[in-house]
């Protein structure tokens, strides 16, 4: 079974600075997808960025980028120019790419990000 580990329960960053959230995972599969979700106080999970394991190029979405290290099974999220609206819980998630009937996302325990004005 796949597992996802986020070792930083809480992080804080000064507004306009850059912060990196860590995520590692364990899998025996070679093809899969990785995601970062943001959960603000409204509770709704919002997809921030996704990465296909077969792509070597790191995904980027505006101020959000990932550092995907497949061999190390590491998938960190970098937030540049942090803004007050970035304050939230961030969850890393894994999804198998093969059709094994296993459709679910497996989530880490989350990192609470605080932005300091």
């Amino acid at each position: 079974a796949q597992t996802v580990t986020q070792s930083q329960p809480e992080m804080s960053v000064q507004e306009a600075e850059t912060v990196t959230l860590s995520c590692t995972y364990d899998t025996s599969e070679s093809d899969y997808y990785l995601f970062w979700y943001k959960q603000p106080p409204s509770r709704q999970m919002i997809l921030v960025i996704r990465q296909e394991a077969y792509k070597q190029q790191n995904a980027t979405e505006n101020r959000f980028s990932v550092n995907f290290q497949k061999a190390a099974k590491s998938f960190s999220l970098k937030i540049s120019d942090s803004q007050l609206g970035d304050a939230a819980m961030y969850f890393c998630a894994y999804r198998s790419a093969g059709y094994f009937g296993n459709e679910k996302l497996t989530f880490g325990t989350g990192t609470r990000l605080t932005i300091i004005p």
């Binding site: 995601f35 409204s42 509770r43 919002i46 296909e52």
Partner: protein, 116 residues
């Protein structure tokens, strides 16, 4: 609808009572998922529906938990004889086509269940 809708937003119930949580997925989304988020924890998979196929119930924690999806759309999660450890946020999500695993889910805002 435009998004995944869940009701009620908050529910307080007495221990031992039954509760029903509702999820209305995005129109056209064939896959529907229920997750539970306990305080300070990640998301725990509960159950998955895909079209008319038999649901994947492998995440349900006990036989007090059940769920159904009527007409391939609205889903109801039922918890019988609620216990205090059932207190959590219950999140529903839907997905357009699970065969394309690159899709993430679209989540609702959840139901916060408090058992007193």
């Amino acid at each position: 609808g435009a998004g995944v809708s869940q009701s009620p937003s908050n529910k307080v119930t007495e221990k031992g009572k039954d509760v029903e949580l509702r999820c209305d997925p995005i129109s056209g989304h064939t896959a529907l998922y229920w997750y539970r988020q306990s305080l300070g924890q990640g998301l725990e998979f509960l159950i998955y529906f895909q079209g008319n196929s038999a649901p994947d119930k492998s995440g349900l924690p006990s036989d007090r938990f059940s769920a159904e999806r009527t007409g391939g759309s609205v889903s109801t999660l039922t918890i019988q004889r609620t216990q205090q450890e059932d207190s959590a946020v219950y999140l529903c999500a839907s997905s357009l086509d699970p065969r394309d695993r690159s899709y993430g889910y679209t989540f609702g805002s959840g139901t916060r269940l408090t058992v007193v």
